[in-house]
Symmetry: C2
Subunit: 149 residues, 2 copies
DNA sequence: CCCATTTCAGCTATACTGATATGA
DNA sequence: CTCATATCAGTAGAGCTGAAATGG
């Protein structure tokens, strides 16, 4: 039998990319759970956020503003449309495009999601003091700013 | 046309779980690329690491020691076996079990992977000073230590 | 009988690629 | 003709669930 405590190999325990992955996985799970209570996923939230903050946009612009691939956007927008949270209409100025608008219901839903996500982040960061939270965000920001790819 | 710089909604830019996800994604990509040069993935590395650090083990024990699900382990071990990096043999003491061993070639490969991953982590952390790297790892560790799920 | 181990078959959310039809 | 847009089809790695077969 294996009565050993579940040890992790040192190589894995100390690898920065692993630690980051674990922390991010935990964070994603926490946020995803909060959104799942509304039957939505991260893509949906990102789209609602982009639409309220920047106004109506083409799918191409939404892709740029959320980082969601154009191909994945189609499905996410279909789901938001089914739920009445956004509306797609053809752009009269350029008939290749759709103009996507957030609805009143979409704005209301976004407010609820904001609250739920605020709680999720709070729970997530609970082990860290205010200054430590800021330090963490700062360090992550600097890590990302230094990317080459 | 959309000549706007690719702005991100503030909600997304400032959400801790998003920042973490982005940093982790970048880190994972960097490590995965290093492993892909050898035709391997993270699961393979984790398994080779567990086998060298803790010695031969059943698949069940390997699952505990790497966090890889038993169902996913099967395929990863098949691939390692095909490449001659590990060997599976039935456990004489418990015929439900396989004993997995790392081969000499597996040990050699692991050394090469270690080197490649060391470079990847170095590149990843390049924007941070030594003390800042330590602070980041410490903060992530504390975040993970405070989990409830 | 119940429990552990391995394997198989499947699903999910996310990231990503390539092809196609339509229109600028 | 070339380029942009939206859509569709498909791939990939990783996390996860459930069921089946075998054996303790």
């Amino acid at each position: 039998m294996d009565n050993d405590p579940a040890r992790l190999p040192e190589r894995l325990r100390t690898m920065p990319s692993r630690l980051l992955a674990q922390a991010a996985g935990y964070a994603q799970r926490t946020s995803a759970d909060a959104l799942a209570a509304f039957g939505l996923r991260q893509h949906h939230y990102a789209l609602l956020a982009a639409l309220t903050e920047f106004g109506p946009a083409s799918q191409s612009a939404l892709s740029d503003r959320t980082g969601i691939y154009r191909s994945d956007l189609v499905g996410a927008l279909n789901e938001l449309t089914e739920r009445g949270l956004v509306a797609r209409s053809p752009d009269p100025d350029d008939r290749r495009r759709n103009v996507v608008n957030i609805s009143t219901a979409g704005r209301q839903q976004l407010r609820r999601l904001d609250t739920a996500l605020r709680h999720a982040q709070e729970q997530l960061l609970a082990p860290l003091s205010g200054p430590d939270r800021q330090r963490l965000l700062d360090l992550l920001g600097r890590l990302l700013a230094g990317r080459d790819h």
